[in-house]
Symmetry: C2
């Protein structure tokens, strides 16, 4: 049993035992040490983004004081949903160890596969209706950004 996955499982068990959220846990590891722990807290905090991986990534970023976690790895008890995968992508995490599959998650009512399928569709065929509005005005902040010599790319 991998010690980091064991820690992630303990997070998942804690989420269920305390009724904070779904049965998911994750840890972020940097140079052999856990720098972020998270379990699902969607129910407790009423925050739909409070998935285990997002919570663990947020904590790791606070601890390391940087948004670039390219020298870290993520251990998660279940294959990340698209939100959590994308969060790891933005954090530049190169490798994710996962326990259960998204099919396992679907078996207990968490259908991430539907969301993956939806994201792979063209914008106009997605579940959430996307409507264009005031595009030209929204380009103004882009120009403002480009005019700032001290902007920090990420």
């Amino acid at each position: 049993m991998n010690e980091f996955m064991q820690a992630a499982i303990e997070e998942a068990e804690h989420a269920v035992a305390t009724a904070r959220g779904g049965p998911f846990g994750a840890v972020v590891v940097h140079e052999g040490h856990i720098v972020g722990r998270g379990h699902n807290t969607v129910v407790d905090t009423r925050d739909p983004t409070a998935h285990a991986e997002v919570n663990a990534i947020r904590e790791a970023s606070r601890v390391l004081d940087r948004f670039d976690l390219s020298d870290c790895e993520l251990y998660t008890t279940c294959e990340p949903c698209p939100m959590c995968y994308a969060a790891a992508y933005w954090a530049r995490i190169p490798r994710i160890y996962r326990g259960a599959t998204k099919e396992d998650a679907a078996g207990i009512g968490f259908d991430d596969k539907a969301m993956y399928d939806d994201l792979a569709r063209p914008t106009e065929d997605r579940e959430i209706q996307l409507v264009e509005l005031d595009r030209e005005a929204c380009l103004e902040p882009f120009r403002f950004w480009e005019s700032k010599p001290d902007r920090v790319p990420y």
Copy 2:
């Protein structure tokens, strides 16, 4: 000019003016009122998940004290990245008004399209390496969840 998109643009301008993050803003609207505002704070907070839409959704969830925002709409100055789209999906937001396109964003260095393409690939071909580890042990929290009669689905 739509008043809610105007508010989202003001958020985006604020992010740039204060150097908190990228030129993106968003608001969540419930029954004709803004209940969540957000701008990108990735640089300032060193949180890679602190995109405008995620910040706005988190605030709306706090204000309404629930993770289900199915009676809300999201206004965002730019087409959401997969993380933000998935956050809106989990929040059950049915409609998103967006200003700039992901092609506009790519033009100033924010290449969300690459992330959309990556997510559409089979797991083994993705940019982040996904490695299976201790799957059987990770199913234990799932069984624990199913054994709890008071579990809250979301």
